[in-house]
Amino acid sequence: MRVVVGMSGGVDSSVAALLLLEKGYDVVGVHMHLFDAKKGTRTCCSVEDAYNARDVAISLGIPFYVWNFEDIFRERVIDPFIKDYISGKTPNPCIACNEEIKFQGLLERAEKIGADAIATGHYADIREIEGSRLLKRPKDRDKDQTYFLYRVSSDVLARTIFPLATLTKSEIRNKAVLARLPVSDKRESQEVCFVDGQPLELFFKQFGVEDRIGEIVDEKGNIVGWHKGTHVFTIGQRRGFGKGFGAPRYVIDIRYEQNQVVIGPKDLAMFKGARLDRCIWKLPQSGMTVKAEVMVRYKSRGHMGVVKRIGESEAEVMFEDQVFAVTPGQSAVFYRDDLVIGGGVIKYGIR
């Protein structure tokens, strides 16, 4: 069976390709060219990453191609990212990228070259439940990336393989070493791939977002400072608005219309619920409410809560405990028994 593996040049996708080869698949490596990194920045998907991926493909003896997804990436990931940030939200572009490009986009092209499935180096697993393909947390829970993948459709998951599902990061690294794969101990990309390596302000400037001077106010409405644009703030942020307030202060609200950033004590950054839209439901729900473990951010712990469906695509989640920094624009992903059963985009937190 022919499988197209998305190869970023990093250890994970390299080992994913190796594992598939070992299992006897007809493996084709593809590096997805998503955007043109500016010279000098150490962003992901730079020219060097393509070369790294090519080197790995050569050492594995598999065909390797670089496919251009620049236009669609700009349109479906970068532009919405900027738009959301400017309007005071904190978007998660990796979620949009996985939904539209890394999976759907790759699969469409893969099928045209005779592949039956795609594979990536994501830490995730897949289970078939009641005829639907659901994401499941992988063996290495610390590296679990299912949070970013919740919007990938069941149809696409039915034609996706996650070779790293049952391995830990260190097992994967060992495999790379034993196979002498030419992946260096590359520093893993921690931030958004197209921003990584430069301050967010600089990124926005390059894309034409201008400074908008506005007020920083406290919870009582007093003006305590100034900012150059709400787009570099996010709920729960502790820095970026000066010091000397006595107790630690956090961003508790971003008022886009008034161009204000509101800061306050930590307890005002705690929420008991969230209103969501653009919701996805992976299982036909028997009732309108579902108990689930909810993650409101990547790498945070899940919070038990009750999800109530509202209409076709909205929902309200009420948590059992207070949750820190429920942030508009981020996603809330619902888990049950380590399976992703749905999720949605946070419209606002409920105090």
Binding site: H31, H33, S46, V47, Y65, W67, K112, G114
Partner: protein, 379 residues
Amino acid sequence: MRIYLDHNATSPMLREVREAITLYLDNIFGNPMSIHEEGRKAREGIEKARKDIADVLGIKASDCFFTSGATEANNWVIYKFAQDHPKLGIAVSAVEHPSIIEPCNSLERDGINIVRIRVNKEARVDLDFLEKVLNQNKIGLVSVQAANNEVGTIQPISEVSKIVKGRGALLHIDATQALGRKDISDCFACADFVTLSSHKIGGPKGVGLLWIRPGVYLRQMIMGGGQERGKRAGTENVAGIVGFGVAVVVCEQKRPENVKRLTELRDRLWGGILSEIPDVVRNTPFEDCLCNTLNISFSSVLGELVVVRMDMAGVAISSGSACSSGAMSPSHVLLAMGKSKQEALESIRISLGWENTEEDIEMAKVLLVDAIKGIRGAI
């Protein structure tokens, strides 16, 4: 057994070339600048190559300067002319090779007046536009290729030359793609600088040549040990140059029969594709085009994917231009011809060469038709 149909990218080495080079890889290893016997033997090899090339092309050996390739030769002309004449503009066709375009872009950022000459929908230089450009700007150098690498269009260089000479400017012709595929004596008759490349005609990679008309001055770009009569420093790529020499001689000798044969093969391939996929679009002009090139597009089919499928089926073709990461971006030539970005991304380029046979073409046609139908069917 693979079928190689990407000769505009590079060509397999001719048998004669390989045989000639072998001597220079083992026994004749000296530095041509050395005065001892080892050096002299190496020197003899490159001067013979220079003379052979000059004789077969009808030019003078002393006007030929070896470089590391066409890219270097092109950079040399553009940069050094600009450096010596910063107040004069440079006009280049919109469909030149990146080794002309990129130096011009760089010079433009530094304040040199660069004008790009429009082309028509066959990628041919718009002569009226050229005249207008030369009337409205003080242009000192015009660079127009002899033939285009992406679609195969042959440029009207005698007409270009008349216009350029009429304005007292210098003319550079990048004849890389034309060598061996058409008679290029008109280039040497018309131009002040001509670029040639070795690896497109079955010679080794990493060698090229700049011909400079006697009486025309171009300062050296690469400085150092005074090689190439002080015009291009650097220890000569002896084996490469020797191979280049042999390649030029062989391909010029075989040119008439090659042109005839490749034209037939190309036309047969085109007819075969057209009969099975009637909506194929031909980007290569029907007249005045290189004998070996066929650039075509299929609507709603990404050229990138066709290349991959053909590669997997054992056939090498190409599409568009590759950016530095290796991804395909729309060919600037097709865009200059008036194609949309989408149309440009749907194109593929098939370019034949000395070792292709009728069987190759038949097989390629079958596989290509299969690939297109497969991709369209998979929607």
